[in-house]
Symmetry: C2
Subunit: 253 residues, 2 copies
């Protein structure tokens, strides 16, 4: 039974997409069958795997709006055990178009139901907002993975995110759990990072992964080559930390 893990945080640029790409790449290396669903109209997840945005073809937009089968749009990647559901530019309009539709929050959940059992993990990469797409991601999820950038502004948005999660736990998704909080872009040259780590542990306690992702320029370079870090530069410190995170998620660590 595939586990749906949604990666969400409305603060922008905290490492949602980078975590979706690299964590799934290392889980696939551990022989887990993984699907990554991109519901952010920016489409960074696709290009991080070297897959073009499907502006001319069907994508998650047509699945959510017109009910076409998600099966028909799933794309393989160059990596074993790893597939992607692409997005196209039309998704940017979905926010307004979905408002008047019934069951607008549960469209993704319905779309994933028929294919869940084919995968061990399904990751959903969300846009930087608490809009209808992120709500779809949280309603479809078994659990939510929260990337938390080790910087001051990133702490500010946490209360709002937790409020949204607890609203959904009382309503549309009573079983939603917090999978974990992963600290990203840790910079050991500044006290700021260690202060954020301390606050996160006070707040989330054992939900904070022991693995901390350091700031590492190779992680920012990899997407320009259309590759996850596991194939762009597997020896770098960024790669090793995402591999460790994958093992910790699997409870092997």
């Amino acid at each position: 039974m595939g586990k749906v893990i949604t990666i969400a945080n409305q603060k922008g640029g905290v490492g949602k997409t980078t975590t979706a790409i690299n964590l799934s790449a290392y889980l696939a290396q551990q022989d887990k069958k993984v699907l990554v669903v991109d519901i952010d109209a920016q489409g960074n997840t696709c290009s991080g795997f070297g897959i073009d945005k499907q502006n001319e073809n069907n994508s998650i937009y047509e699945v959510l709006m017109d009910g076409i089968a998600i099966d028909s749009i799933i794309k393989p990647t160059l990596y074993d055990n790893l597939e992607v559901v692409p997005v196209n530019i039309h998704l940017a309009g979905a926010q307004i178009e979905l408002i008047e539709q019934k069951d607008r929050e549960a469209r993704l959940k319905k779309a994933l139901a028929p294919i869940r059992d084919r995968y061990d993990y399904i990751f959903v990469d969300c846009p930087p907002s608490l809009d209808i797409m992120t709500v779809n991601g949280l309603v479809a999820a078994d659990s939510v993975l929260i990337p938390l950038q080790c910087e001051f502004f990133a702490l500010e948005g946490l209360a709002q995110l937790l409020k949204t999660i607890s609203l959904l736990q009382k309503g549309l998704n009573p079983n939603l759990k917090i999978e974990g909080v992963v600290l990203t872009m840790y910079d050991n040259r500044t006290n700021l990072s260690s202060q954020v780590v301390e606050e996160a542990i006070n707040y989330f306690k054992e939900k904070v992964y022991k693995t901390v992702i350091p700031r590492n320029v190779k992680l920012a370079e990899a997407p320009s080559h259309g590759k996850p870090i596991s194939s762009y530069d597997p020896a770098c410190v960024g790669a090793k930390s995402y591999k460790k995170l994958a093992l910790e998620l699997l409870n092997y660590a």
Copy 2:
């Protein structure tokens, strides 16, 4: 006649708020009267100036939704010539609430009209999306300032942003111009940054500011002290680059 400059880019974490805070601080030092309007429910602009989010009091939310006068909520900062319009957590709901209202895109424009002439510059800091708040910011603006992070994913969202700008130029804001593109978080240790700079200059030509903002950890530390960089560490390279940007914007450079 105050100039309204909206700072927008739907890619998250590219330096919109950091630019709003520090550019306005240095313009105020040049004896320009500056107002910074925060329309991002995260409220990072307020805390960057050491001002608490106004969850109990009126904010831009009540101005846009209930039509209260923006005058009544403007807050002074510790810095001469510099005032802020705060936001509160209720703004997160404005997206849905404004959908059915008439003139929903022009609410900010209307709210700013009576006070424009009191300032030389009014900066509007947008959330990381092309939602109704960002549209309000673009409709209210004389021009749009685009922070462009020197990283691969940041280039991907540009086409969508320009499409939205040109749609508004054909409709709700025919006079909207591009004020300029400011390159942020430039890291001279990687080719990636210089590749992005090259692409930006190809795309935007003379609209790209000569001043490039380097990645500088002091810029990330300053908000945790509630201060713009001009008072947190005016001698650091991050501060000098924002000062230079202010002079370039004033065409003094």
